[in-house]
């Protein structure tokens, strides 16, 4: 049971579906940082928006707006956006966009 699951996960990664096994490890870790609020693999179980499958350009634009304080109604994200640089925004955007 557990072995078949592990194999399934590995295969999913190879197919690019989860982008877990072969993603850039740093990008993968930074994206995983988001999951306690946005859900495992960016799939939220509640009111906080999902990040999985989000358009890369939109993701980066929103992070810049959070950073600059120009996105209305922001709560926690201003702090988070100021903790990462634009290269990191792009790496996380790419990671989440690849999740189906």
């Amino acid at each position: 049971m557990k072995k078949s699951l592990a194999v399934a996960l590995l295969l999913a990664g190879m197919a690019g579906a989860v982008a877990t096994a072969h993603a850039d490890p740093r990008a993968r870790f930074m994206a995983a940082n988001c999951s306690y609020c946005h859900g495992p693999e960016g799939k939220s179980r509640g009111a906080i928006p999902s990040l999985a499958g989000m358009d890369q350009k939109y993701f980066v634009e929103q992070m810049k707006a959070f950073r600059d304080g120009t996105r209305p109604g922001a709560t926690v994200m201003g702090k988070h956006a100021n903790g990462y640089n634009e290269t990191e925004y792009a790496a996380m955007a790419k990671y989440f966009a690849a999740i189906k």
């Binding site: 592990a6 490890p25 799939k43 509640g46 709560t75 926690v76 201003g78 702090k79 988070h80 100021n82």
Partner: protein, 442 residues
């Protein structure tokens, strides 16, 4: 019981070869990326369970054993909502069955000894398990001896409810339900650092939200060992004023800084501080704490006069014992001791360890985050959020400019986010499937 079939010992003879791999760590040991090192995780809370899940995802060849005495997870974050009557204990109890499927071996047992020279862990059930890497995620040990009279007998009456469970959180809720209107709820805040810095102040709000409806003549007396509100001060004081008349003659909340409980008398129902003997109808004393017992067994409680464990921020490896990594509340860091931090540092340790096992150097400049919501019990919440980045000069993880701060004010939106946070962090930590049906409310 579902876990019994997993209670087999994978070590013994077969592990001897793998153990030989360890010894002198360093990346060269794992240069091939083909090793199957034995990784033993003690404690399946926010730190340990998250670590196990992510290490199996990022380095599937690791042979991961988790040792955990409880048969299910009980969440400390959100446990104050049980005191408010918003949730029942069952709503904050979550299953281990999903994370159990992802790891190689699950041992339902308590660790009784750790030999960091031989690199073995012994359990109460008599098992000895060898490790190449040991991950200690045991949370905190409560120091009852530091409060005179807080012995086993007194603990039957006076609950700390700082490790959530039916015999603590559930029992304290029952005491509050039995308290007469006009009664005094006396609660304490330990001296920092302690698990969940905003937790005591949130507890006052949550209990207040219940008393306001059910027993409005009652009082909440907060005995704080600290000189002032130790977390989210402005937001808590605003919430206390808005909802509980704080700083007025009719305040439900009586906040007393610099009032560390020195003694308790469970028969007379009195808490004594340096200044006062305070009588309560329900007493809730949270004693001082230090890193978990297992950290003492491993000899890694080297910091703060033997209380907490110093770690290398990039790997979470102990600074004094090789191949022992410490997660969550037990570690001496500049992170708050929160569920989010335990969850994310579990990933950070898994990231570093998977790099080492792949023969690479761990990320020299990692970044990690904390987001912590506190609820008022009145449908609103507020946050503190921080990003920590590696600072070479300080050899530490510190917040960059503008990457640390709190809410402007409490809001219903953040109340909804708090509920969502709980579901997502539980799902992330325990590998709960997308179909999992949560029952907890914010």
């Amino acid at each position: 019981m579902t876990i019994d079939r997993r209670e087999f010992l994978k070590v013994s003879a077969g592990a001897a070869g793998a153990v030989a791999v360890s010894g002198l760590a360093g990346c060269a040991t794992y240069a091939s990326g083909n090793a199957s090192p034995n990784v033993v995780v003690v404690g399946a809370g926010f730190g340990g369970s998250t670590f196990a899940k992510y290490l199996k995802a990022w380095y599937p060849k690791a042979n991961v054993t988790v040792i955990e005495p409880n048969d299910h997870f009980t969440s400390c974050p959100f446990s104050n909502t049980v005191l408010a009557g918003i949730n029942q204990m069952a709503d904050i109890e979550l299953p281990y069955v999903h994370i159990q499927k992802l790891v190689d071996t699950w041992v339902k047992d308590k660790v009784t000894a750790i030999d960091s020279a031989k690199q073995t862990v012994t359990t109460a059930g008599g098992k000895t398990i060898a490790y190449d890497k040991l991950v200690l995620a045991g949370g905190v040990e409560l120091l009852f001896d530091a409060v005179k009279g807080y012995d086993a007998e007194a603990q039957k009456t006076i609950k700390h409810a700082w490790k959530a469970g039916r015999d603590q959180t559930g029992a304290l809720r029952a005491q509050l339900e039995a308290m007469p209107d006009g009664g005094a709820f006396v609660m304490s805040v330990p001296m920092a650092p302690y698990r969940c810095p905003p937790g005591p102040y949130e507890r006052a709000c949550m209990v207040g939200s219940y008393l306001k409806k059910a027993k409005p003549k009652s009082k909440i007396i907060i005995l704080d060992g600290n000189p002032d509100v130790a977390s989210k001060k402005g937001l808590f004081e605003a919430a206390w004023k808005k909802h509980f008349g704080y700083k007025t003659d009719n305040s439900m909340i009586d906040y007393r800084p610099n009032n560390q409980p020195k003694a308790v008398d469970a028969k007379k129902m009195v808490v004594s501080t340096e200044f006062d003997d305070v009588k309560g109808d329900v007493i809730n004393v949270v004693p001082p704490m230090r890193a978990a017992e297992i950290c003492g067994m491993a000899g890694v409680r080297d910091g703060s006069g033997g209380k907490w464990c110093t770690i290398d921020y990039r790997t979470f490896e102990s600074k004094v014992v090789k191949n022992v990594h410490i997660l969550g509340d037990s570690a001496l860091t500049n992170f708050p001791k929160s569920g989010s931090v335990a969850n994310n540092t579990g990933k950070m340790c898994a990231y570093a360890m998977s790099e080492i096992f792949n023969g690479r150097t761990p990320d020299p400049a990692p970044v990690v985050t904390n987001t912590c919501y506190s609820g008022t019990g009145m449908g609103t919440a507020f946050h503190v959020a921080t990003v920590f980045r590696w600072d070479e000069a300080k050899q530490s993880l510190v917040p960059p400019k503008n990457a640390n701060g709190v809410s402007k004010e409490e809001s219903e939106l953040e109340g909804a986010y708090m509920e969502s946070w709980a579901k997502n962090v539980w799902a992330d930590t325990l590998a709960l499937p997308e179909s999992y049906n949560f029952t907890a409310k914010g």
